[in-house]
Symmetry: C2
Subunit: 222 residues, 2 copies
């Protein structure tokens, strides 16, 4: 879908999706009414329904569109790069960059993943799985190369996505500067953690286990 070949319809659709994504990002999907979107797009209620056939499909279009471009762009970026560690660095850098540049859509992707259901959920989830698998395979490859055996790859993968996707909860360009520094910090944090200094890991992790945690059972468990 090259930008220069977009029809009038496509342009208008993207405008609606972007506007809706911004409101979803701000107020949340369920507290946003179609009337809110109508107001923001200066369209009528029924006029909007020319571009989607339900509110849920609108959410789907945002998520599906966003995920598709994420995966495509990421794949394109990684083609030709063979060193898995380098690939991982590029993936992290790309993900964070894309997230910050498309904060609204990515927040909707991260935060409203379960606001969708049925076939539409399955479609989006398949794309998500593709993307996660890409990262997980990368970590597996690195783990093989570096002989890493003591870190659970699944946990490491989701920890990485946790670090990256959580940013919509705290990232502020004013406080945190542009995405370059953020990207460096997180890359360094994760990568040296994953490849890390084994002496620290095995030496220090034996202390204090289970001994204090009995006291942490809360009133919730009665």
């Amino acid at each position: 879908m090259p930008a220069e070949a977009q029809s009038k319809y496509d342009q208008r659709l993207v405008f609606v999706l972007k506007t809706a994504a911004a409101i979803f990002a701000e107020k949340g999907y369920h507290s946003t009414s179609i009337r809110d979107i109508a107001r923001a797009t200066k369209m009528s209620l029924s006029g909007l329904y020319y571009y989607f056939k339900s509110k849920e499909e609108l959410l789907f279009l945002i998520q599906d569109y966003c995920f598709s471009t994420v995966i495509d762009d990421c794949r394109r970026l990684l083609t030709g790069v063979t060193d898995p560690v380098h690939r991982l660095k590029l993936l992290i850098e790309f993900h964070l960059n894309y997230f910050v540049q498309n904060m609204n859509e990515m927040k909707v992707l991260s935060h409203e993943a379960n606001a969708i259901s049925g076939d539409l959920f399955t479609k989006v989830n398949n794309k998500k799985r593709q993307y996660v698998d890409l990262a997980m395979k990368l970590l597996e490859e690195i783990a093989r190369d570096y002989g890493i055996k003591d870190i659970n790859i699944r946990v490491a993968t989701f920890s990485l996505f946790g670090m990256m996707n959580w940013i919509y909860n705290w990232y502020s360009p004013r406080k945190d500067g542009d995405v370059t520094g953020l990207s460096q910090s997180i890359t360094q944090l994760f990568l040296s953690g994953f490849l890390g200094d084994k002496s620290i890991q095995s030496k220090q992790l034996e202390t204090g286990r289970e001994s204090h945690l009995d006291r942490s059972v809360s009133i919730w468990q009665q």
Copy 2:
């Protein structure tokens, strides 16, 4: 609020909060109706309003109660432990353990942080800030002790919470075993990343910067 001193009212309230939290966790705050909660608690609509005066206050009670016990239990756990690295390990271990043991409430805490507003939001947010500050101060102390200068502490703190709080999106006791292994993996991942092997950091992080990312601008930006 010791468990043995809870009045009938308190017990009933906690029952309502726990039940509501479970439904909020499953369907989300905004798609849960008071009628859903009435059905689950086998109470009437109006009967529920004896325990809270609005749906938003119900959410607040869940979040406030949960945060209070998190902070209290965490502080209690750390008293007497002076080594900052050990304190951090305990905090991570505690946080993950508490999260898994109170998944519903913690998911509501993490996922519905912005579903609340006004004074109630401020109250919850203050407690959150206390907790985050506790971790951030710890990282600052460690950074001072270990001479860490190249990692942004704010980024590191929120990365840690990102790793930990993201688990409600993927953790499955069946796939991932009990919380002990999870805790070890994440502690190791973050800690050796934070204290990490400097040679890796400075040596490898210069490659590929900015060179590929031009291609990652998506249709979203037109």
